[in-house]
Every structure is written in C-alpha cells, then in structure tokens.
C-alpha cells in the first residue's frame, strides 16, 4: 500500500486559523518529550557490541572566566538516546531504500496524525504485554479504521515509572511492552501507517529479540521505509484520534535517527 498523500489543496486561511487556535489555546500543544539528561536509561546491548554513547553535557562557560557573559555547553550523545526517532536506515531491512536517513527523508513525513491505542491497563498487568491484531481490531471497532500515513502510538503509561522500573532489566533482558510480529506487518502492509511510537526504550518489546522475526517493529517499519518514535511521554494527554504529531529529527548527515522534540497538536474541544 502506498503512503503517498492524496491530491488535496488547502486554503492559507486554514493555516492561519491553526496558528491562532494554538495561540488562543483552542489547540493545545502537548510535549511528548523526555528531558535529555545524562542519566536517562539507554538501550542495553550485550557489552561486547558497540554501545550508544550516553548523553554528556559539558559546560563551555557559565558567565565565568571561560566566557563572562554567556552560558553554553558541548553535547555528545548517540543517535538513539533520550526521546528519539528511528529512520529506515537504522535497520538492515531498510538499508537500501531511497531517502532512508534523517537528512534525506521527506520533510512532510515529519508532520502526521496519530492514532493512540491505550494498553496501559494490560501493560500494568503484564510487563511483557504484546499488542496483537485483535487488540487493534477492537480499537478500530470503537474509533474507526486506522487511516494511512498515520502514526500508531502505543500508550502503556510506561513513561510514568521510575527509571529502574522503566528499564526493567532482569537477568534475561528487559521486560517492557511492545508489538508482536504479526501486528507490525499488518499495520505496515494493511494500514499503511507512517510509523509506530512507544513510551518504552525502543519501538519493540523488551523481549522482542525472541520474536519471529526478531525486533519486528524495526524489521517491518524500516523495511517499508516507515519510522519509529520511542521514549515518548504524555501519551495519556492525547485523544485516541485527531492529534497531529510533529516529529522532526536533527538533520544529521546519513543519520539513522536522532533525539528530538516531539510535540502533539490536540484540539481542546
């Protein structure tokens, strides 16, 4: 299924209305981003693999002898730290696609509507909760079919946890909720979603390495040129449908992803 936009036009007055609605508060802007800090959990890989550089913030000056009137920092971090974006080139399945990196992806893909599937109750019961096609079909019974070019955001309230529970590492790896393989293939191929977003570290479940294929969200999303968002917060402030997500990653040359500010526009009506 194509995710090309339909051929439509829009009066510039509508855009001005949007701006004034944001200004007046008729449209709320919800920040879905965690603060980028050095101590935010990152993905844990076996230590013999290359590791994401953690976030480091080093002062250049702070109104002191190093720069009397100004404060600024040097930053280092891996592309996949904090609230971050995954581009198709991140996974081997998307490595040969055109425009598959954060610097070459179409700018229009950075703004899209979202369907929010609330699985917070299930995730509270089961840290290894997996989203399946029947869950989504049940959601569609209530809210309608997921339209093409929409984000699907998995709400689990995982972002409200303390960081140890958030990472939830056991001796057999992380235990965090995510999608199963069939639902990812189905969302990409049958619903044409633009991307999949989670509150957890990674678009995939903590134990997704044991699914078939391993890491199905990465596998199917990026193989079809779609995107991932993870470490989101405040999903509980979004309606099931109708929110508009603005997710513009840093324009890193051939970048596989980046920390970014994710905001949602939500009608307050």
């Amino acid at each position: 299924m194509s995710i090309e936009p339909e051929d439509v036009t829009m009066d510039s007055r509508n855009l001005l209305e949007l701006a004034s609605a944001i200004s007046s508060g008729a449209v709320r802007v919800v920040d879905l981003t965690f603060t980028l800090t050095p101590d935010f959990p990152v993905i844990v890989l076996p230590p013999e693999f290359g590791q994401a550089a953690p976030v480091r913030i080093q002062e250049i000056s702070r109104y002191d002898g190093r720069g009397p009137a100004w404060y600024w920092n040097n930053l280092t971090f891996g592309e996949h730290t904090g609230t971050h974006f995954d581009a198709p080139i991140h996974w081997y399945t998307g490595k040969n696609l055109p425009n598959n990196a954060v610097d070459t992806m179409p700018a229009r893909d950075m703004v899209a509507s979202a369907c929010v599937i609330d699985c917070s109750a299930q995730a509270a019961q089961d840290a290894d909760f997996l989203l399946t096609i029947p869950h989504v079909e049940a959601w569609e019974m209530r809210h309608g079919r997921i339209p093409a070019r929409h984000w699907v955001l998995l709400r689990t309230d995982w972002s409200k946890k303390g960081w140890r529970d958030y990472a939830n590492l056991g001796e057999d790896g992380a235990h965090t909720p995510g999608p199963d393989a069939a639902v990812m293939k189905w969302l990409v191929e049958e619903r044409g979603i633009i991307g999949f977003g989670t509150e957890t570290i990674g678009t995939d479940a903590g134990q997704a390495g044991h699914l078939d294929p391993p890491y199905p969200a990465h596998h199917f999303l990026h193989g079809a040129g779609r995107y991932g968002l993870q470490c989101l917060c405040n999903l509980d402030q979004l309606p099931a449908t109708g929110a508009v997500i603005v997710a513009a990653p840093l324009k890193i040359q051939n970048g596989s992803g980046s920390p970014l500010r994710v905001i949602a526009l939500v009608s307050s009506a």
């Binding site: 050095p38 101590d39 959990p41 844990v44 290359g50 590791q51 550089a53 953690p54 480091r56 913030i57 080093q58 002062e59 960081w163 140890r164 958030y166 990472a167 590492l169 056991g170």
Partner: protein, 413 residues
C-alpha cells in the same frame, strides 16, 4: 602506651577550618632516593660499592673510603634509640602547630646514625623499627616505631601525620558496580572507616553484589557517574566536604589495540570513563580535599587510583586500554603536585590483570579483587605512594627498570 584516638565530633560551625601547612621541603636530588623508598614502603640507604659501608644522610662520596659509587640499597630496619628530645616551640610553622613534637637519634644496626621522627612508644635504649615515610609535604623523612607492636600503635599522633589510615575517616569509593569496588568497600569498613560512600552509575541497571551494598551500616550508596560532569559536581555539592579519602575504582577494560578495532567509539568510552572521569572527580572533589588537609583527626588524607600496570608499558593485547591507563598515570602526577599543598597523598596502585570478567581469557596469575582491596588499606595505613599488587605488576616493574626495550618486545605476544 598511647590512648586510642576518639571518633571525631561534628564540626563546630563557629570555628574556622584550619588550613594545611607543610613541613620544610627542600631536598637534594640524591636524597630523593629516600623519596622513592618511602613511596614504595621500602627502607633503603646508600651503601658504598667499594667498602660496603651504609651511610646517612644522602651524600656524594663514601664517608669511609671516599668512593663515589653509593647506590641506594634495601637495608636492615633495626636500630636503637640513643636519645630523644621534644620540640616544644619549633620555629617552623608546620611543627609549631603540632608541637610538642618528638624526634630522636637512632643508631642503626647496619651503622649510620639517623635523626628520626618518633612514635610515642619509642623509648631510649630500646630497639626501634625504622622506615622512610612521606610527610605532608611529600618528602621522605625517617620514622622510628617500637620494634614490637604496642597497643593502639597506629593511633599515634605523629604516625598519623605520615599516613592516611582509614580509621574514623569517610571514604568515597567511586564505582561500587565492580567487584574490586565492592571488595574495597568491605575492606575499608573493616579497617574502621566511619562512612563509605559508594558511587553507583546508572542505578536503573541492576548489578551483581547490589544487595550486599544496600542497607548496611556505614555504607551509603550515592549516585555517581564519574564520566558525567553534572553527576560528579552534584555529588560533590552534597558530600565534597566529607570526603577524607577518595578511592577511584573506575574500571573500564576492553581488549584490543589499534588495527583490529574499527573506529574510535570504544577508545572514546575508555577515555570517557577513565581519563575524563578522573578529571571530573579531581575538579569536583580536589579543591575541598586540598583545603581540608589539616581538618582534625579525620582530615583529608589521600586520593587512591587503581591503575593497570600496563600504564607503564603497553600490552598490545589490551593496547588501547593500556594507553588510557597511561594517560591516567600521567594525570595522577599532576594531581599529586596539585594536592601537595593540602598534604593530601595521591596513591597509585598498579595491578596486573584482575580475576574479573573482562580478563576472562587471560591466563593466570591474576590478581584477586580482594587482594587489591587489602593492598589499598595497607597502603593507606602505611602512607605509601606506589604500590604493586601481585606477581605480574611486580614483574613488569622490575623488567621495566632492567630494560624497557626488552619489556616492550616481550609484551608483544
């Protein structure tokens, strides 16, 4: 017999913290032979190669036969205290503040007479055990202790000036995630440290031994990621004024050299953890430590680094790691110079491969983490500066001194 020292009371906030002063420093280049001996805990005197006469103090020619061949040699430590005196109003500021101060004249069994600082239990005409100690100015001085153990021996006021005994002191162990770190915590508590603060980075990541650390009296787990500037400065803001001894147990070991690694990200992590972490700790904790060098019974006394002995000579199998350790070694000398005005010792503990996970494929002998911890406590109690733990470290030291080129070739295997 001396009275045991009492646990220090809380500070009186109305009183100014006394600033450290230093004993006289000038030494001849030759007499730094004693500095080396003191740093390593050895007792060395010059001995004439021609007539075998031991002599003291340091000189350029043998007092017996005028030979100029006077090498520093390990010497017997026993002597007899001939006479003692107590300086009540010394002119030197450091000693005036610490008066009365006892010194004595010791006749060594091996010959020379030595003026030495005295342990309170040393008696005239009795046997003494001699050592060279590093004083608060970092210079070697002769110190006489009773030849036999006496009650509360380590609590002697003058001896404690020369050492960094953990008893009643508060210690920061920077990394409690490692086995070496955990053994160090246990050893310091057993040695009488009042509080051991244990740094734990990324507390969301579980680690082996975590349960044993938590909930124990005298052990406080604190958030500390040495490589993160803010984490270090935040912790220093809380406890910087309470760290009397800092033990840097940062551990980041990865195999590999240059050509068989791809890119710089592992090397970057090595530098980030070991070298930049060291800088962060020094900048955050160093100034307060230097300022508290004379702050009562639990004055700030020492900074301990655990370094790989391959900081001295690169081991290509762990080549990039060796280089990161060499960088830390160099930095430690800078820190030593900068902490000296505070009388705070910088101790470097050199180990061969430890019996830990990242050296799994390295054949024995390997150093047990507990041996490292015990060596730290011993070094603090004796006021050492250079400590070689285990056979590998000792062997590398000797081979480096004998022929650095041979060592370089032989490590290349």
């Amino acid at each position: 017999m001396i009275d045991p020292i009492q646990p220090p009371r809380r500070k009186n906030p109305l009183l100014r913290t006394r600033l450290p002063t230093s004993p006289p420093k000038p030494r001849s280049r030759t007499s730094h032979g004693f500095t080396r001996a003191a740093a390593e805990g050895r007792f060395m005197l010059q001995r004439c190669d021609a007539c075998a006469t031991f002599c003291y103090p340091a000189r350029e020619a043998c007092p017996s036969c005028l030979s100029s061949s006077l090498a520093f040699t390990d010497a017997p430590r026993r002597g007899t205290l001939l006479a003692e005196t107590t300086a009540r109003v010394p002119s030197d500021l450091y000693f005036r503040e610490r008066a009365p101060w006892r010194v004595g004249l010791v006749k060594m069994d091996c010959g020379p007479l030595i003026v030495a600082h005295l342990h309170a239990d040393c008696k005239e005409d009795a046997a003494v055990h001699m050592s060279f100690q590093l004083d608060k100015g970092g210079q070697a001085v002769a110190f006489a202790r009773p030849d036999e153990e006496t009650p509360n021996m380590a609590d002697d006021r003058q001896w404690r000036e020369m050492t960094a005994d953990p008893k009643f002191r508060r210690v920061l162990v920077t990394n409690g995630r490692s086995v070496v770190g955990q053994e160090t915590v246990a050893a310091l508590r057993a040695a009488g440290a009042k509080t051991v603060f244990v740094g734990v980075a990324e507390p969301w990541r579980p680690f082996a031994g975590e349960r044993q650390l938590s909930g124990q009296e005298g052990i406080e787990i604190v958030p500390l990621d040495a490589a993160d500037e803010k984490s270090v400065t935040d912790l220093a803001a809380d406890i910087g004024g309470k760290v009397d001894i800092l033990v840097n147990t940062t551990e980041y070991v990865r195999a590999g050299g240059l050509l068989d690694r791809k890119g710089t990200s592992i090397a970057r992590d090595e530098i980030d953890q070991a070298y930049l972490g060291f800088i962060n700790l020094a900048q955050a904790f160093g100034p307060a430590m230097r300022m508290r060098g004379a702050d009562g019974v639990n004055n700030c006394a020492a900074w301990v680094n655990i370094l790989s002995v391959y900081a001295l000579a690169n081991w290509p199998a762990f080549g990039a790691y060796s280089a990161s350790q060499a960088a830390c070694l160099s930095l430690s000398h800078c820190l030593r110079a900068e902490l000296r005005p505070g009388g705070v010792k910088v101790m470097n503990l050199f180990t061969g491969p430890t019996d830990t996970e990242w050296f799994q494929t390295v054949p024995p002998p390997k150093v047990a983490p507990r041996a490292v911890a015990q060596a730290i406590v011993a070094a603090l109690r004796n006021g050492l500066e250079e400590i070689y733990v285990g056979d590998v470290a000792e062997e590398i030291r000797l081979r480096l001194a004998a022929n650095p080129k041979a060592l370089e070739r032989e490590l290349d295997r």
